[in-house]
């Protein structure tokens, strides 16, 4: 079919290669003690999917409650716990590790031509830390949860609630170290383990994006760790580092918290942007337009991202002049994201475009992230922030960038690399349907929330004035559609493991070193380290490779 670039081997004779990273060793222990970055990536994939559905169930509860203006589904205390846990689970146990720990872990060494990450044992430790944190988080939920909001604002979290703040804080602390070790591993690998000939500017943009995100992980997360330690100490010892009655400053907590949590949003989105670069290039058969600009934009976002944290605090009583500085810097950090969107759009120019599922998700990303990003400008503009902050406008904004952006990018990447990771193709028609359902459901869920926010509906409200009901019902209806869109992949991806078409090495005919190996790959990725003599996204090189191809033996 000329509408697709999919190129599968002859299904009658094709087989999954007998020796691959999945079949190399058998048994639970071989998985739990593995150093293979690919196996660790799969372990992460299973874990984060588990937490995603927990976070999603909590979201379903929120939207159910908000169908009616009164808080009639659950007690307000319970609702407060539900939205707090939704945020904590989704951010720390799903979004932060999603692309880096699954796709990044799996593909960074392969894209660089390396046999593994630099520190495989640290990689495994990262996963164990994540699981420990996750189990602790689960325990907290079962034991009664925490109701401070994911932002743990003091003095509410230190003196005014008696829920499991410290346990949750410790869970996040441990998850933070998981993140730090992942980022550390990536930076060392990218610096020290590129194949011969792979210069910095020959690396795929996926790598650049992860490099930038790793810098943020490594430098930002420790500050969150300290903020949590201080909250825990204040709760136990009670000395008043955040208590104004004892001379402390509750705003200090917010500075420390947002110093991490703003870079955190870039930790979450940058890897997703890396996926989009790969997908758009592959499905337009073209090198990404403005490769250097996109690479530098990733790093610029990381650097600028450290200097804008107080835009979360514009109405908190910080000085007007501080507001000026942070608002200006926020405008600067918005520009590199815009640059990337235009570069991706122009990658399509004079390309040869097909619309397989990963590309559909990528298009969804471009539209929704543009909206999400622009609504960020409303908030970075200090004047309009006064009216819009702390309302549903903020909720809509971050869901557009995180769910419409990041989660779509994750799904794009999952589908794009599924054949490489498993050796099997997912079913195309149903996955395209799921992508469409997700896109429609998403818009119905979150677009009304912009209007709600402009109307003034505050966030974290269990009950609301009746005139907001229509928009809330619309939002909840959309959420049910969105839920279907997210559940479908679980079923058809699992189905594909047994019944999907055999993918072969390079079903998308992509460039990238990971596609020049078998699917699923060998444990050591490459029997010989490749020598790189071509640029990234070099489709002409790919053509020449195909001409040279020796028919496979066995």
């Amino acid at each position: 079919m000329s509408d697709t670039i999919v190129s599968l081997p002859d299904q009658a004779t094709a087989r999954i290669p007998k020796l691959n990273y999945l079949s190399k060793e058998k048994g639970l222990l071989s998985w739990l003690l593995t150093g293979d970055h690919k196996r660790i990536a799969i372990l992460y994939l299973i874990s984060i999917s588990f937490f995603f559905f927990i976070g999603g169930s909590l979201a379903a509860l929120i939207r159910l409650e908000l169908l009616t203006p009164q808080s009639d589904l659950m007690a307000t205390d319970t609702y407060n716990k539900v939205f707090s846990m939704h945020g904590i689970v989704m951010i720390f146990f799903f979004l932060v590790p999603s692309v880096p720990a699954t796709l990044g872990n799996f593909f960074i060494p392969m894209m660089l031509g390396a046999k593994d990450l630099a520190l495989p044992k640290i990689n495994l430790l990262s996963w164990y830390l994540y699981m420990a944190a996750g189990m602790m988080g689960l325990y907290t939920m079962i034991a009664g949860g925490v109701d401070t909001g994911w932002t743990f604002t003091t003095p509410l979290s230190t003196h005014y609630v008696n829920t499991h703040v410290i346990t949750t804080g410790v869970a996040i602390f441990i998850a933070g170290f998981s993140s730090i070790f992942t980022g550390l591993n990536f930076i060392v690998t990218i610096h020290k383990m590129r194949a011969p000939g792979m210069t910095w500017f020959r690396m795929p943009l996926f790598i650049w994006a992860h490099y930038a995100a790793s810098i943020l992980m490594v430098l930002g997360t420790p500050v969150l760790a300290i903020a949590i330690v201080l909250v825990a100490l204040e709760r136990t010892v009670g000395i008043g580092v955040f208590d104004p009655a004892k001379g402390g400053d509750p705003l200090l907590f917010q500075h420390l918290f947002w110093f991490y949590s703003h870079p955190a949003v870039y930790i979450m989105i940058l890897p997703g942007m890396g996926v989009i670069s790969e997908v758009i290039s592959t499905f337009s058969r073209k090198r990404v337009f403005g490769y250097t600009a996109v690479a530098f934009s990733s790093v610029a976002i990381a650097v600028f991202g450290f200097f804008v944290w107080a835009h979360h605090m514009f109405i908190m009583g910080i000085s007007n002049y501080a507001v000026l500085v942070f608002s200006l810097l926020t405008m600067l950090v918005a520009v590199p994201s815009a640059i990337k969107i235009f570069n991706w759009a122009f990658t399509l120019y004079k390309g040869s475009i097909t619309f397989e599922t990963p590309m559909l998700y990528a298009f969804g990303f471009m539209g929704l992230f543009t909206i999400g990003g622009m609504t960020g400008v409303f908030l970075g503009t200090s004047g309009t922030d006064i009216h819009l902050t702390e309302t549903y406008f903020i909720v809509a904004h971050f869901h557009f960038v995180m769910v419409g952006g990041m989660l779509m990018a994750f799904l794009a990447g999952l589908h794009f690399w599924w054949p490489k990771m498993t050796g099997r193709m997912y079913p195309e028609k149903i996955s395209q349907l799921a992508a469409l359902i997700t896109f429609i459901g998403f818009n119905f869920t979150f677009f009304p929330q912009f209007i709600l926010g402009t109307l003034g509906m505050p966030r974290r409200y269990a009950s609301y004035p009746p005139e907001f009901q229509v928009l809330n019902v619309l939002s909840s209806a959309g959420a049910s559609i969105l839920g279907v869109g997210y559940l479908l992949p679980v079923f058809y991806l699992l189905w594909s493991l047994k019944y999907g078409a055999i993918a072969g090495d390079n079903p998308w005919q992509a460039t990238g070193l990971e596609w020049q190996t078998q699917s699923p790959p060998l444990t050591e990725n490459f029997t010989e380290i490749p020598i790189v003599d071509h640029e990234a996204y070099d489709y002409e090189w790919l053509e020449r490779q195909k001409e040279k191809e020796v028919p496979s033996v066995g």
């Binding site: 932002t151 403005g290 918005a334």
Partner: protein, 357 residues
């Protein structure tokens, strides 16, 4: 909004308001902020349209069927410059415009009438200078700049009036302020928008905007009899502040006549201007606010007086326009038998009629 066609403005604001898609504009700053808001909406729409048009048209023109062979293009510095400079320029415009509005919202005019608001879990208490107290509501007149001085008794709260487009955090430990001038009589939502615990979603109320005449009527009918300053005076006496802060030549503390608004030299040599925040700090944290020439013996009243009590004291001190006024208070104090000669810092006795701190 003067530059925009009235028809468009009417559609945007009035029609959307009646369809519950846009909040009413009930303050002077609201249309100004809305103008910026719609500008950003316009820019966003244009930006989104451009992106969607580019993606859609390229997808159609260069689909594999129509354009089977891709043309490798490295990039275009001109295009990069264009889509860097134009967005940056637009964002900087918004930054400047937004900053102007922001400064306007948080810089009260000199003739603003001050209303104190104390937020506590889970209610708002508004205190008018004339002594009227309101819980979860705020009555204000049109045509008069109103400054809200906010503080929290416990955790962070945020005082939000969407119809006025103003919002400000109420923080424990220091005053914050915001001002507005209401323009359209009516009843509007008041929300707490900073998550503050169990009953956060019930910390809501009404802002009632009245014409000036109606407002005067409301003031008259809802007074509790004692203005804030009067309450403050009683508190001042019962906490034995007069033991040191009097007009006697051997007084251990400075006389507070006319101190509000003046520039004071502290014992450290530093000069401070005496505003609400200074007065509050001096009551709760005196050792860092010792006036030059006096010993650092004032005890702290932290824990002994609530934020409302502090507000009353501050209002009282603001009203001290002469030594004679101070002497009036001192004279009243000496009539209370327990207060004579009581050492500074002792807990106030439970005297009848005293405002509960």
């Amino acid at each position: 909004m003067d530059h925009i066609s009235p028809v468009i403005w009417q559609f945007l604001v009035k029609w959307m308001t009646s369809f519950a898609l846009f909040p009413p504009e009930a303050s002077k700053i609201a249309p100004q902020m809305d103008a910026l808001y719609f500008f950003i909406v316009l820019v966003s729409l244009i930006g989104l349209t451009i992106v969607v048009l580019l993606v859609t048209s390229f997808s159609i023109l260069y689909s594999k069927r129509r354009h089977p062979v891709a043309v490798q293009i490295e990039g275009s510095t001109l295009l990069e410059a264009t889509w860097t400079i134009i967005p940056l320029g637009l964002f900087l415009m918004m930054f400047v415009w937004g900053a102007l509005i922001y400064f306007r919202v948080y810089t009260p005019p000199a003739n603003a009438m001050n209303i104190y608001v104390v937020g506590k879990q889970w209610m708002w208490k508004a205190e008018h200078p004339g002594g009227q107290h309101e819980i979860n509501s705020l009555h204000v007149p049109t045509g008069q700049p109103i400054q809200l001085t906010l503080i929290s008794q416990d955790v962070f709260h945020s005082f939000s009036i969407p119809a006025f487009r103003v919002k400000r955090e109420a923080i424990p430990g220091r005053y914050t302020s915001v001002w507005f001038e209401a323009t359209v009589p009516g009843t509007y939502h008041l929300f707490c928008t900073q998550y503050c615990g169990t009953e956060h979603s019930h910390m809501i109320g009404d802002v009632v905007v009245l014409t000036p005449d109606d407002y005067k009527k409301w003031l008259a009918s809802s007074t509790s009899g004692m203005s804030l300053a009067q309450n403050g005076e009683r508190l001042f006496s019962s906490l034995s502040c007069t033991a040191c802060h009097n007009t006697r030549p051997d007084a251990r503390g400075p006389s507070l006549a006319n101190v509000y608004g003046s520039t004071l030299t502290l014992s450290s040599g530093q000069k401070v201007s005496v505003d609400d925040a200074y007065l509050r700090d001096a009551i709760l944290n005196p050792s860092q606010h010792i006036t030059q020439g006096f010993a650092p013996i004032m005890p702290t009243y932290q824990g002994q007086v609530s934020e409302e009590g502090v507000i009353a004291l501050v209002e009282y001190i603001k009203s001290l326009d002469s030594d004679y006024r101070v002497q009036q208070t001192t004279a009243t104090t000496t009539l209370l038998p327990e207060s004579e000669g009581r050492p500074a810092g002792a807990k106030p006795a439970a005297t009848q009629g005293m405002v509960k701190p």
